[in-house]
Amino acid sequence: MKTVLFGLDGATFTVLDPLMRDGVMPNLKAFCDRGVRAPLASTPHPLTPMAWTSLATGRGMGHHGYADFVRFEMTPQGPILRFNTSQDIHAEQIWRYASRRGRRVTVLNYIGLAPPYEVCGHTMPGFVPGRHLRRSSHPPDLFARLQGAEGFDVNVLGLDLDIERQALQEMEPEKWLDWIDLHIRRERAWFGTLMHLMTHEPSDLTMVVFDGVDKVQHLAYRFLDEAVAPRHPDAWEARVMERCRDYFRQVDSYLGQVMERVGREGRIVIASDHGFQTTTEVFYVNTWLAQQGLLRWRGEMDRDDGAAIVARRLTRHLDKYDWGKTRAFALSPSSNGIFIANVAPAEYHAFRERLIEGLQSIRAADGGRVVAEIKKREDWFAGPYQDRAPDLTLTLRDRGFISVLEGRDVVVPRRQPAGTHHPDGVLLALGPGLKEGARVERRSILDVASLLAHSLGLPIPADYEGAFPDTFYEEAALRADPPRREGAEAMPQATAAAAPEMDAEDDAVIYDRLKSLGYIE
C-alpha cells in the first residue's frame, strides 16, 4: 500500500494539542479524529542523527553506528573530528530495504543520505549545505527534473551552519522573526519538492522530514508551551507567538494537501524523532572537568557569558585542549557526552566510576543535582558500534544540552528558558486498517520501521529490535493482513527507552570491542 512518512522533527503533543484545539492545525486534528496516535519514546539520548536513524533502521545506535553529527578519532597527528555520513550507517534503512524489495521510494530532507547511493526512486538529504545538494542527491539528474517544482530553491533548502548556530545561543530579539521566516520558506521549498515528485513521479514509500519544528522550538519553545508561555505578551512577544503559529499553520496546510493526495487508499504516518521541553540552565561540563584536574586547556580560555553551548568553529575549539594532560572531556553539545582518554586500560573502570561519582555530586545554586542520569555506553548503546557513543552520556535535570565552552561557573541559569529535547515524541497513523480516533500506549521509535514495512506489504526484517505496533491496528485488519517476520529468528521485544539486558553473548561482544580499543589487554 502506498505509504507516506510525514516527519516533524522534534514535534511534541505538548505543543501540537493546543494548536489543534485553537484551530491552528485543523488538518492534524482531522488526522487525529480519523487516525490513531501515541507518544513515541525516542532513543536513550534523544538526538536527531541517532533517533531518525533508529526510526529508519529499527535498530539501536550500537548497531547502526550513527551517534552524533560528528565523531572524534585520536590519530597520530592528534584528535580529528569526522562528520558522520551515509557511509557511517551500518544498518539498512527502510527505504533501502523497500527499494531492494522492488518498491519505489522518495526520501527528502532525511539525515544520513549523503553521499547518495543507488535506490529505486529519489533521495535528497537534509543537513547538507545548499551548494552540495545537487551532487548529494539521487538520481544525479534529480535537480534537472525539479526545475519546475514550485518553491524549489537550493539556496533555501540547504543547511547554513552559521545561521543554525545562532539558534543554539541567545539570539537578539530583532533576529527572531527572520529566523522563523527562514524556516517557513525552507519548509515551503521542501514541500514544493515533495509535491512535485508525488505528482509526477510517485513512489510506494515517500518520506519527508520538516525540521523547522525543531529549529523553531529550540529558539521559541517558551512561547509555544502553554505551561510557560506569557499570559499577557508584550508587542514583540505577541509577534513572535503569531509567527510561530504561522509556521505551524503552514505545516498543517502541507499535511492537509498530503492527506488529499494520498486519499483513502494509502497510509500516512506522522512521527517525530523526539519531543521538546524547556531548559533553564547551562552546564559547562568542561569547566567542571578542568576544576577536577581531568581536563587541561592549552592556555587562558575566554569565558562564555552568552549561554552558548557550541564553539563557533569546532576544529578551532579542538586546538584548545591540552590533549597530553586531558583525561576526560566533552566535545560536542549534541552528544551530551564525556570521552575518556589517557587512562590505562587497567584503570579504566575505576576511573570511570570515580568520574560518575563526581558528576553525581554536582549541585546547582539551589542545591539540586544537575546531572540526573549517567549512561555507560555498553549499557545503553550495546552493539558492534557502541564505541561511537561517548564513554558516558549525561541526562541533565532540565534535559538541556551540555556546553563545551569554558563558563564563568559550572552551572549558569539562562536569562530566558530555551527549548531542548524531551524523550517523548509523537507517532500518529491514518489509513486502511488503522484505528480511528484512538489514543494508544507509548511506542518505541524502534517500532516505526516495522509499521512502514508492513504497510508496504513487506516482511519485517528479523533484526529489527522494536515490536510491531499492533495496537495501532483494528484486530480484523491484522487478522486479514498479519505482519510477517523475515528469517527464522524472533524479533526482540526491547524498546528504545529501556536499558537492554546483557547476556553472555553481549558481554563477549563488548569484551572484544573494549579489547580492540585497547581498554582491555
Binding site: Q77, R131, V154, T315
Partner: protein, 96 residues
Amino acid sequence: MTEKSLQDREQETIALLQEITRDWSTGLGDGITPATALVSDLGFESLDVVHLVTAIEQRFGRRDLPFEDLLMTGGRYVDDLTVGDIARFLQRNLGA
C-alpha cells in the same frame, strides 16, 4: 597499473574540485590550478571540507586515507590547503 605522476594527481584533484564547485560563484577567472587555495580562493567552509573528504574517499574507493596528515599539522588544523597539497597527499597515500 599505469603510474600516476604528481601532475596526474593535480589534474584529478582539479577535476574533483571543478565538480564540487560547479554551482558556486568562485569568481576564479583562470580556473583552478595547483596553486589554488580552498579557503581563500574557492571560499571553502568547514562543511565543504567534509564534502571534499567524502568525495575523495568515493573517487578512489578508500575510506582509510589518513586525512589528519592533510588537515592537521603539529596537532592543529591547518588554515588553508592548496590543490597541490591535496595532490601530494594523494600521491603519498595512493601511490604513484
